[in-house]
């Protein structure tokens, strides 16, 4: 099958939906300018014209309300933010307006609005260019929240999000943009609200989100050499969150680690831990373990940033602790280093 990267999959999903449906349009700060949102909107203005792929004033709140207005009048807007952090300026519209509009109409009016937002990391992104905030959005009834990991998921989930008649926040990790995978060329959908088993295993379950899926896969490779079989569940959609895959897996393995690309306190990892504890209480052989960002703002310099982010090594140590294994010597292991690929600036 044809192989493309995550960024290309995002672009292809939008392109194909814009071809299919003239009500789909794409907009956001800097969208049609030369940087093209890391290449994810390349060619859209040229193909579909400036009315369907356009730049906006730096007015996150107004342009979010704008999306709501266009959506209730029959359009299918895709609003893009180059960093999730900027969406905080639009929280009034998202939480007070967008999330409750359908409810105010008793489910009778559509709000087919997609909000794409990119999570930054590395090369000095610091504390205002690195948040994921998916738990913020998932806390609010009326918003759907999607975090794709693989290029195939990115395409199938984005097409589903665009065709969905409800507001969807679609969170893309910057480092995943380079991930390459088999992705069907024709349009296809992956249902929102359904998770994915990224790796089958029997000894321990890791439920991971976004970039943490990549770290979990690396951890699983290393642990496999030691005879440990890890199952990795990627929920993909955290609102609505279908916990059935996670629950089924933990009932089988008896151990659960949640590796979230976010802070832990009051976050999605706490939601998963609560549900697993409730639904797998009798089958759990150890307490649910959570791994995520350090409880600090994200620092800029690399040596502190390394401490801030969770990684594969941390997952491995957690697995060893849960399964009462001796620590593996990781000194010879080759872990992901973004500097090999990403030299900044953004």
């Amino acid at each position: 099958m044809r192989r493309i990267d995550f960024c290309g999959a995002i672009r292809e999903a939008m392109w194909q939906e814009m071809e299919r449906d003239p009500s789909v349009f794409v907009y956001g700060i800097g969208v049609p300018t030369h940087a093209k949102i890391f290449g994810s909107v390349t060619g859209l203005t040229e193909r579909f014209g400036p009315d369907r792929c356009f730049d906006t004033p730096i007015s996150e709140e107004a342009m979010t309300g704008f999306g709501l207005g266009a959506a209730i009048n029959g359009m299918r807007p895709i609003h893009i933010h180059i960093r999730v952090d900027f969406l905080l300026l639009a929280m009034n519209q998202l939480v007070n307006m967008v999330s409750s509009y359908i409810y105010s109409t008793r489910g009778q009016q559509r709000v087919p609005l997609v909000i794409r937002a990119v999570v930054g990391r590395g090369w000095g992104q610091g504390y205002q260019h690195s948040k994921s905030l998916h738990s913020y959005f998932a806390h609010i009834p009326g918003l759907k929240v999607v975090l794709p990991t693989t290029p195939r998921d990115a395409k199938g989930l984005l097409i589903s999000a665009i065709r969905d008649d409800n507001p969807v926040v679609f969170i893309e990790h910057r480092w995943l943009y380079w991930a390459v995978d088999e992705v069907p060329e024709e349009p296809f959908t992956i249902p929102l609200g359904k998770g994915n088993i990224l790796r089958h295993g029997k000894d321990i379950t890791v439920i991971a989100t976004s970039w943490m899926c990549v770290e979990a896969m690396k951890a699983a490779d290393i642990l496999a050499r030691e005879g440990v079989s890890m199952e990795i569940i990627d929920p993909r959609t955290i609102a609505p969150f279908d916990d059935s895959l996670a629950v089924e897996s933990v009932r089988k393995t008896g151990h659960c680690i949640v590796a979230d690309n976010d802070w832990l306190d009051c976050g999605f990892s706490a939601e998963v831990a609560a549900r697993v504890s409730e639904k797998c209480f009798g089958q759990l052989k150890s307490p649910v373990k959570r791994i995520g960002f350090a409880p600090t703002p994200c620092p800029t310099v690399r040596c502190l940033e390394n401490e801030f982010y969770p990684n594969a090594a941390k997952i491995i140590r957690a697995v060893e602790e849960r399964l009462k294994l001796k620590p593996i010597d990781l000194s010879k292991e080759d872990f992901y280093s973004h500097e090999r690929r990403f030299k900044g600036p953004f």
Binding site: F25, D51, T56, P57, S59, E61, A62, M63, T64, G65, F66, G67, L68, G69, A70, A71, I72, N73, G74, M75, P77, N92, Q93, N96, M97, Y101, I102, Y103, S104, T105, R106, G107, Q108, Q109, R110, V111, P141, G142, K144, D165, N166
Partner: protein, 321 residues
């Protein structure tokens, strides 16, 4: 005898009488919803909604009793919603602050100041793309002028050349605060002369003057392909919230109110009708008809059932018919 004159009067009369009924029944504690009364604003709502017509779309705010009745002329749904009954616009989910009827062109009302303004701009964009000729109008108070999203929305509408109407219903009060402590500019009209929009201002409480101005502003938006901004002055007769007068608490005087009352929009329009050939008995008959309709609406709302508790969970997401 001018039908338009009578129609505008009937709209204003329905609004005024509906609110008088609210004042009468509110103490019974059956309408459990925070009321931001429109009394004094009738001419603006009637003129704007009448000029917009059934095809026009309006986006309101928490003080939307007048806008709702002017746009929908549906007191059954109005009182149904205020009583929280299944006959209401949103079967009790919305109450007074979120009165709306999207299928009748009253698209939304927000209880957070200025929040529905950008939504009107986006709706106007969609109408432009669809070339359906429908105009969108955001109505808000002068307190909205202090919100960032107001300026963001105005700027976006100007740069995108969208034919959208901004109507500032200016009562000179934000809750109980006066412009002196809120506005770092003399008049919004002066500020807006440097924006790419057409600017209109009117202090009159004459509904026909306002209707003429709104029609002109709509024509201007359509022909020039850019926003029109109207600042329309009025006096808020009652407290910011609730059904009572508040001339005793110190921030404004009864004398000031009485000054405005001399040019009460209903009194002005009634005088015009009488001088245009309508007789007192004919007008009284029209008024009586509306009184009866409204009393009937209140009775039906009181008798209607509340939604069943199971309705809580429905319609969080879109439900296909």
């Amino acid at each position: 005898m001018d039908e338009l004159s009578l129609d505008l009067y009937k709209k204003m009369y329905m609004i005024r009488k509906a609110e008088e009924l609210i004042i009468k029944h509110y103490p019974e504690d059956e309408m459990k919803t925070p009321m931001h009364m429109s009394m004094g604003e009738e001419a603006i709502a009637a003129a704007v909604c009448h000029a917009l017509g059934p095809e026009g779309q309006v986006f309101g705010y928490y003080r939307s009793h007048a806008i709702f009745l002017a746009k929908t002329r549906d007191p059954d749904m109005f009182f149904g919603e205020l009583y929280g009954k299944v006959t209401g616009t949103a079967r009790g989910r919305a109450g007074s602050m979120h009165l709306a009827a999207p299928d009748k062109g009253f698209m939304h009302a927000s209880a957070v100041v200025a929040s529905s303004i950008p939504v009107a701009v986006g709706a106007a964009f969609a109408n432009k793309q669809k070339r359906n000729g429908r105009l969108c109008c955001a109505i808000f108070g002068d307190g909205a002028l202090e919100e960032g999203v107001f300026w963001e929305s105005l700027n976006a509408a100007c740069v995108m050349k969208l034919p959208v109407l901004f109507v500032c219903a200016d009562n000179g009060l934000a809750v109980h605060s006066k412009p002196e402590v809120r506005h770092g500019f003399k008049t919004i009209t002066e500020v807006l002369t440097n924006f790419e929009c057409s600017v209109f201002q009117e202090d009159s409480t004459d509904v026909e003057v306002l209707y003429g101005l709104m029609s002109e502003a709509m024509e201007s938006a359509k022909s020039k392909g850019k926003p029109s901004f109207l600042t329309l002055r009025y006096y808020r007769y009652l407290d910011h919230i609730g059904i009572a007068e508040d001339f005793d608490v110190g921030y404004r005087s009864r004398a000031e109110f009485e000054e405005w009352l001399r040019r009460d929009p209903l009194v002005l329009q009634r005088k015009r009708l009488l001088s245009n050939g309508w007789t007192e008995p004919l007008l009284a008959e029209e008024e009586k008809r509306i009184d009866t309709q409204l009393e009937d609406s209140v009775r039906k709302a009181r008798e209607a059932p509340f939604p069943p508790p199971s309705e809580l969970y429905t319609g969080v997401f879109y439900e296909a018919d």
